[in-house]
Symmetry: C2
Subunit: 406 residues, 2 copies
């Protein structure tokens, strides 16, 4: 499990501000891992509004189903989020539901809040019985350790195959007063979000209604977490929760600055997930334009980003743009071969259905040596656009996934 | 390019019979490779009927487009098939179309047949200009070398990343007389056929009308080549041609024995393509039953067969059935988590939405050491069934594809 830190990792974990109304605690409960923290608890002040998006997998986990039941609740008391790593509590049937009930019940009792305001996530191996008693036994310890400055430790407690903890922050001034946003995420493999992605928790002291917050979160998810893929495999546990405590007293409903800052935090975290893609050596941004519509552009972008042949070519620093042609062709999107143009960065390799007249293999090869690349496609048909991010496919991915459980 | 032979390869190339009315020739034309044959020519007797299926890629090659234009033709003179490896003539624009015209014209002239009866395929790098003059210069040599026994050499001439040549044969008795079928194929990566697959050429001395032959071929394609996947990437060049010379004088229209034998040859060749999947160490058969309908069963089977996480787990001999749960969940097919059961071979790992009560990690681990495995899924919903084949995802795949062009 001890894989070396991704070469695409940020230089250091960012300096995340405390968010009014939010406290964190972690423990090493031994759910599966030894010698590391594996449970985090977040305490949220009374009045906190929680919005979220979740995986659409047909085999989503018991914790996801429980969150979905609760996310539209109108309770106004205190709230909590508890997350464990090491066991996903997915495909665990009736016992899995009972584990969620046991954990949320224990948290509610210890914190003196409504169980309908306790959200949980579990990440790790699928299908193993969940030893929830190892978690419920430590709720008192967690409560005792709550700390407004504990977000960095929380980011570490939720890691599985992640090689670095992921955090992001923005602040924005609304009506002359400062609103802060800070978030953490985990995710490295089984990344092809279909609603939200992985586990992501974002906190803000802004004041905003639940419906307004959910609308912002859903719209930004479509442009951030739903635009990344590591391996085309969709997790059973994907969960994004955004909690607004209102402690700043600043009302942000309808404020474009706040919406932009929230989306920036989400994009920052989403790109950190790609940067920690299992075995990743290069970050790839796929830009598609000229599609018949945005849906077709997204289809083409994802076909490129999920193609094992494109991703291995990037790993090998091979400017094999023919594989981009292949991916466009298989995507199912409307395409006219004779209008298709392809570039790597600003280097046009193909124009209007054939190799570009000024194509230079040397220039293309030099470009491929970069750690961060852009693959651009112009379909030449219309105004549809999309932008997605992925990483290359390397020996590291095989190493990590051929022995994950053992 | 010199990769060691797949551990899943058959012990030897089969002994293929001569088919009345069919002759083969090969040359080393230096299209791209040095020191090996790279062009094959097949001469087909007057009256030969040709049926085929082709890739549905939007960026299909010039040769595929030309074949599709010709496949419904009603000509009755001699016919020919010319195939080169080393260059796919895909995404080569107007120049690509001119290359096809030059090759088919030269073959027609040399053989004294109608250009509308000359079918070509090209396989290799995408997007490179096609040096067709290297091929047209050798048509006379090819004609001079035509040999009824040349099918094995032809199978070798069309290889690219293949580690072994692929051939299959069946014979069937119809009305007391023998009909022979023999076929060859190439394919190893970029395998996720969407109509036919790769390059496949099958010959028979049966007598049958074009519409009847096409109906047999289309139906069998759906159960054979369209049920295999190596890497979810669909080629721009997939072509399957079946030529019936009628030289046996045996009419096979409506004969179930002939239809079965033809499908058996197609399945045999399809499985050889999977056995030569790039980097393959294990052959995986995915069996899905209990789906709401056959389309859903196929969707689930392909989601499992294309999942990098399932394929790396098999490579690592890890009985990680939780990843099968994940693949079912992301497939988009109707599924009820609490009715889902999963087996590896005859070992039931999960029953009705949770780990099987008699689950044995030891037994499952022992099973995973086999070279050929079955992953079975019962969705518990209806009568829909599907069966597909794939291989594991190993370091070999990365090795081969990170340096294919160099």
């Amino acid at each position: 499990m001890a894989h070396k830190v991704s070469p695409l990792a940020p230089a250091s974990f960012p300096d995340l501000p405390a968010i009014g109304g939010v406290r964190f605690a972690t423990v090493a409960a031994g759910v599966r891992y030894a010698g590391r923290t594996d449970v985090m608890l977040v305490d949220l002040a009374p009045g906190t509004v929680v919005a979220g998006t979740f995986t659409r997998s047909a085999t989503r986990s018991a914790a996801v189903l429980d969150c979905q039941d609760k996310i539209c609740g109108t309770g106004t008391g205190g709230a909590a989020i508890l997350v464990n790593s090491g066991n996903s509590n997915a495909f665990t049937g009736r016992a899995g539901r009972e584990s969620v009930a046991a954990i949320t019940g224990a948290v509610a009792q210890e914190m003196g809040i409504d169980p309908a305001r306790v959200f949980t996530s579990s990440t790790g191996v699928i299908g193993e019985p969940m030893p929830h008693e190892r978690i419920t036994a430590r709720i008192g310890d967690l409560k005792a350790g709550l700390d407004p400055e504990g977000i960095g430790a929380a980011a570490r407690a939720i890691m599985t195959t992640d090689t670095f903890p992921k955090g992001a922050t923005r602040s924005v001034t609304v009506g002359g007063r400062t609103v802060r946003i800070a978030g953490i995420a985990k995710g490295s493999g089984m990344i092809a979000p279909d609603m939200a992605t992985m586990l992501v928790y974002i906190f803000t002291d802004a004041r905003i209604g639940r419906a307004d917050l959910q609308a912002l979160v859903s719209a930004a998810t479509a442009r951030t977490f739903n635009c990344i893929t590591v391996d085309s495999d969709t997790s059973t546990s994907d969960t994004l929760l955004v909690a607004a405590t209102g402690v700043s007293g600043v009302d942000v409903a309808g404020d474009a600055g706040f919406a932009g800052a929230l989306e920036a935090v989400m994009l920052d975290l989403a790109l950190q997930v790609v940067r920690d893609g299992e075995g990743a050596g290069k970050l790839i941004e796929v830009q598609v334009e000229g599609a018949a519509d945005d849906a077709d552009a997204f289809r083409v972008a994802m076909a490129i980003a999920n193609s094992p042949l494109v991703k291995t070519a990037v790993a090998g620093e091979d400017a094999n743009w023919g594989r981009v042609v292949m991916a466009v062709g298989k995507s199912g999107a409307r395409a006219d071969r004779d209008l298709l143009s392809i570039r790597f960065g600003d280097l046009w390799l193909a124009r209007d259905g054939a190799r570009a007249p000024d194509y230079s293999e040397d220039e293309a090869s030099t470009y491929m040596k970069r750690q961060e690349l852009v693959i651009g496609v112009d379909l030449g048909l219309g105004r549809g656009r999309a932008r997605v991010w992925t990483c290359d496919l390397t020996h590291g991915y095989i190493d990590i996934n051929a022995d994950y459980r053992s």
